[in-house]
């Protein structure tokens, strides 16, 4: 693995879109008997990661592969997650799907798994530089999409604010940067605040109240995840500014959809965790079956607003179909 | 006398692996003041703690007015009419004097709010007979130890108790304070209260008690009528042997070891000068609050002097902290043993070695063989009992803790020993041993300073006595001139000799910030 360049999942050239998998590599080949997959993600306290697990499970059920899905006790529990991953290696699963807390905390797994000849797929979020396989979306793109919405729908520009996730976490850094860079390039928007929300509703609520109080002419918020965005929505409502201030989140959890439908949250960037889980497991099993996949399999994202919420929130297959259409349309 | 007011019947108390009391029985009549005597560890406090509901007896029962009472906890004991003054001060420094006195059973308004004023009024009433200068509204922590002990006594007087147990109530009091306590106790007796009085000061017991029960190793040796007993006979019952009545012996030389000039502290000590010779035992007497403790702390480096000069063998020394003092050969045996003396969880050996780690660990690692040898030697020398060097020090009696602290300085090669109330709370047998030890040390060429509120102790030990008043040396008395009257005459401010009132203001101003380090 040392000869591999450190992975940058956002820019890696050796990539394929998820919608191309079947076209390029055919149907999923027959798997060796008793194939089992082990997966570990960040935390189950966030719906995003639970949905990812659902995706693993639903795809596993479909192809008859049992999947063990575990998560650390809290976001930031790096060593706990490492312990879990090491346990999975020890137990002899045929493939591992890992969503690391940080870029490096699961590094030792790469070597242990290699020694045990078990492929490892890095699924979303933090990126292990040595990862040979990555399935997920482009983190930066989350922020970029929201910025583009503002540029398109608020042509006059104005003041916007960012509420960030935990300081120093990859996804937070990338999303914030994508938004900030894209929106300031236009010259019309001013990012008047970019403050920590620590993935926490209450902190974000307080931060938003303070920002609104100082900038009553603010036109929008971008939050690094949906929980924080929903806190911000309450602060905006409390300030009586719901008609003037657009609020965007990230992740596309069900509460965010509900809030969007209710006309409160303006939008979110859904990265379709269930589908991502399905695609990730599919890719992993293709590796088990001996196929050579590109290093990065890109999963879809979409900016959800009231206009298109229904299109992306039906049953799993319907969403899959819609996304395939999007992909075909080059979106 | 019909039914005795208080009866102990076959009380036994077994702590895990220790039998503290075996089949203790005796009774105290209404209006009787009953002494309870015995060496350290004889079981006096344990018995009284059973009486006050802190411990439960393993066997036996307590009867009050002929009826057995269940003393399951302090509240039950109080309800049964027992009030107790504990040997260790049981107080909360941040609460006021009155709050402390009413702690656990505050006076309330409407059952909801504490009636502060009322509490303070009643507290002041109870304090009036003992020390009217104590303000019930001040935080208890601002009082001196002696005043705190008076508060503790006054607290026991608040209840109209049928039985009052006093466990060494005068350990920090001066004789004149004892006299007022004696009056108060006599008043209690007149009201028909049964008083159990524990003290190591035999003269007090002979002064106020009619009868006494003597205990040794957890059993009652006998209950005696004090009017028909000599002190000597009582002592031999207590210790189980004859105590030789030793006389003072002088070992003083002309060689000046320690020379103090113009020593002063920021708070209390003013312009103290004296010399201490090789082989000398220098007594320091004075009223409570006269600055004796603080003087010793300055010499031991525990507090910093604001001015003055200290020389040892003619060379000026710096005393910025206790380490400087120890390096210069000075060691302090402090007044409050529990707070300043011992590290309770550690063994006798560890406590002993604490001040001389450098000696035991010449190459950074403790030489345990050597430590053990020295500990055995020094503890034999001070006659530690029981001779268990690895046992945590907190399980030893006060006297033996004191011996271990003395051993600490012997192990450290200290040449100047400062004793602050060396026999406070220590029984008569151990006391004699400590006196003997002090004299031996002097004979070997150590220089010793003894601060004591017990004048007989000072007179027994000292080659020379400094009398302190208001933070400075008021007089220096040679052995030939020593008497209790002579010391008292210098200790009490001239203008106000007739009353204790006069001593108060000086005590009140005494502001010692013991902060150090």
């Amino acid at each position: 693995s040392t000869d591999l360049a450190p992975l940058n999942s956002d820019t890696e050239k050796d990539r394929i879109d998820w919608s191309q998998l079947e076209a390029k590599f055919g149907a999923l080949p027959k798997l060796p008997d008793g194939t089992r997959a082990g997966a570990v993600s960040k935390t189950l306290t966030n719906e995003y990661w639970r949905s990812l697990g659902e995706g693993y499970k639903s795809f596993g059920d479909r192809v008859g592969v049992p999947v063990v899905y575990q998560a650390a006790q809290s976001e930031g529990d790096q060593l706990g997650q490492l312990t879990i991953a090491e346990g999975l290696v020890t137990q002899g699963y045929n493939v591992l799907l890992v969503s690391p807390q940080t870029d490096s905390n699961l590094q030792p797994i790469m070597e242990q798994a290699k020694a045990a000849n078990v492929p490892v797929v890095n699924v979303n979020d933090a990126v292990i530089p040595q990862a040979e396989h990555y399935v997920g979306n482009v983190q930066r793109d989350n922020g970029v999409r929201v910025a583009k919405w503002f540029i398109k729908n608020r042509p006059d520009g104005g003041k916007v604010a960012i509420v960030e996730g935990q300081a120093g976490v990859y996804a937070a850094v990338q999303r914030t940067d994508g938004f900030k860079t894209t929106i300031t390039e236009t010259g019309k928007f001013e990012v008047v605040a970019s403050v920590p929300g620590n993935w926490d509703r209450q902190t974000s609520y307080d931060a938003a109240s303070n920002i609104l109080q100082q900038h009553p002419d603010l036109i929008g918020f971008y939050a690094n995840n949906d929980g924080m965005a929903l806190g911000i929505v309450e602060a905006v409502k409390a300030a009586g500014l719901q008609d003037k201030v657009a609020v965007f989140g990230t992740d596309g959890i069900s509460d965010a959809y509900a809030s969007i439908r209710a006309g409160e949250l303006t939008g979110t960037v859904d990265s379709f965790p269930v589908l991502t889980g399905e695609v990730a497991l599919e890719s992993a099993l293709r590796l088990v079956a001996g196929q050579k996949l590109p290093r990065v399999v890109a999963t879809p994202q979409a900016l959800i607003t009231k206009d298109n919420a229904d299109r992306y929130s039906g049953a799993g297959d319907a969403v899959r179909k819609a996304l395939l259409e999007d992909a075909a349309a080059g979106n | 006398m019909s039914v005795p007011r208080l009866q102990f019947e076959g009380i036994s108390k077994v702590f895990p692996a220790v039998r503290a009391l075996s089949d203790v029985s005796f009774s105290v009549g209404a209006g009787e003041i009953h002494g309870l005597l015995g060496e350290n560890g004889a079981g006096k406090s344990t018995l009284l703690r059973i009486l006050s509901g802190v411990y439960r007896p393993t066997a036996g029962s307590v009867l009050i007015d002929g009826r057995p009472v269940a003393l399951n906890n302090p509240v039950a004991a109080r309800a049964a009419g027992v009030a107790m003054i504990h040997q260790e001060l049981q107080q909360v420094p941040h609460l006021s004097v009155a709050q402390n006195m009413f702690l656990g059973h505050p006076l309330t308004r409407g059952g909801i709010f504490v009636a502060r004023r009322e509490q303070e009024r009643r507290a002041a009433e109870a304090l009036a007979a003992l020390d009217p200068t104590i303000d019930p509204a001040v935080p208890l922590g601002s009082l001196k130890v002696a005043q705190r002990q008076i508060v503790e006594i006054a607290r026991a007087l608040l209840d109209r108790a049928r039985v009052v147990a006093m466990d060494e109530p005068t350990s920090s009091l001066t004789p004149s304070e004892f006299e007022r306590l004696a009056e108060v106790i006599a008043g209690l007796a007149r009201d028909g209260v049964a008083v159990v009085y524990v003290s190591h000061k035999l003269d007090e017991v002979f002064g106020i008690c009619q009868r006494a029960t003597i205990m040794r190793d957890g059993v009652v040796v006998g209950s005696v009528d004090l009017a028909q007993m000599s002190e000597k006979a009582v002592v031999s019952m207590m210790v189980g042997r004859e105590l030789a009545q030793e006389q003072h012996r002088s070992h003083i030389s002309s060689e000046v070891r320690l020379s103090v000039r113009g020593l002063a502290s920021a708070t209390k000590v003013r312009n103290v000068s004296f010399d201490l010779h090789r082989g000398e035992v220098l007594g320091i007497a004075g009223l409570v609050g006269s600055g004796r403790t603080e003087l010793l702390r300055l010499l031991a480096g525990a507090d910093r002097a604001s001015s003055g000069r200290v020389e040892i063998d003619g060379k000026a020394i710096k005393l910025a902290n206790p380490r400087d003092a120890i390096a210069a050969g000075i060691g302090l045996v402090p007044e409050e043993r529990k707070r300043e003396g011992i590290v309770p969880l550690r063994s006798i050996s560890s406590n002993m070695a604490l001040a001389s780690m450098g000696v035991f660990a010449p190459r950074g690692v403790i030489d345990h063989t050597r430590l053990k040898r020295v500990a055995a030697e020094k503890m034999k020398r001070v006659n530690l009992r029981p001779f268990l060097l690895d046992r945590p020090i907190r399980l030893f009696s006060g006297g033996n803790q004191q011996k271990a602290i003395i051993g600490r300085w012997l192990a450290a090669g200290t040449r100047i020993l400062l004793f602050d109330e060396p026999t406070r709370g220590i029984d008569i047998g151990a006391k004699a041993e400590i006196y003997h030890l002090i004299e031996e040390l002097a004979a070997e060429g150590h220089s010793v300073v003894v601060v004591s509120s017990e004048l007989p102790e000072v007179i027994r030990l000292a080659d020379r006595v400094l009398v302190m008043r208001d933070g400075t040396v008021a007089a220096e008395l040679d052995r030939a001139d020593l008497s209790e009257q002579a010391i008292a005459a210098h200790a009490i401010p001239q203008s106000e000799t007739q009353g204790r009132q006069g001593a108060r203001p000086s005590g009140q101003q005494g502001i010692t910030d013991r902060t150090s380090g």
Partner: protein, 325 residues
Amino acid sequence: MTDVTEHTAARPRAEFLHRFSLRDAGTLIGLVVILAVFGALVPGFFAERNLINILQQSSINACLALGMTLVIISGGIDLSVGPTAALSAVISASMLVAGVPFPLAIAAGFAIGLVCGLLNGVLVAYVGLQPFIVTLGTLSTYRALALIYTGGNPVLGLPAGFRAIFNGSLFGLPLAVIIVAVVALIAWIILKKTPFGEYLLAVGGNEEAAYIAGVPIARTKIAAYMISGLLAALAAQILIGRLGAAEPILGNLWELDAIAAAAIGGASLMGGKGSVVGTILGAVILGTMRNGLTLMNVQSFYQLLATGLIILAAMLIDRVTRGRG
């Protein structure tokens, strides 16, 4: 080194009062300095609306810190306040969503807080375990229960009527602020005027002495933890009223803020000492810091730095104004 460095003054009574307010005055001065600094740096900092914001944002921490203060005075510590609040929040919220009448659902939330506190208290007082470890254990346990109960999902869709209870205003002040002010007043009365307050101080100041004096040690400690649990539950109600949702991960690291507020306000973790007024000021100091730094748009790393430094600075100022504690 000594725990007793009080002075006996000529007029001890006045001095006693003085001593108490002196410590709080130190905290107040700290707050004034911080206000002045932000006032100078941030335009509109002193706008009424912003000051109200600060109070509102401090109210939850103040609520918890009051309970924490009582526990700390009793010689304990309660690390489990955040998870207690979370458990109370998700249970109240799911009852509300299920259509249970408000008073019942709120009462259930309070009951949860009391039960959590009771368990802490019993383990500390009757079983005799160290408070830090007990509440470290229940910190995980209560959090796990909240997560298991909800499957990790937030409980959404709280009825508007419920939210109005905690979201309203009275005399231009948010109700949450008024509620916490009333709680503070009650806590002050408890500490200063009632036997229970005295017992708390006594148990924390010298447990053995308190026992011998007949203070009901176990009940006093348990009551302190139960109050802390109850106030955590109250904080939870206020918060879910404000956010409209109850999350099982709510209250993460609340304990540290609450302890910081109490300590800045003069509580000693050794027990026996603490001030309601000081704690409130401590909470407002922390709230002001957050508010001011956000308004100054200080980057998150530097906000963290400022938070750390302000805690150290507050304790240093405390140390200087008060002498060695």
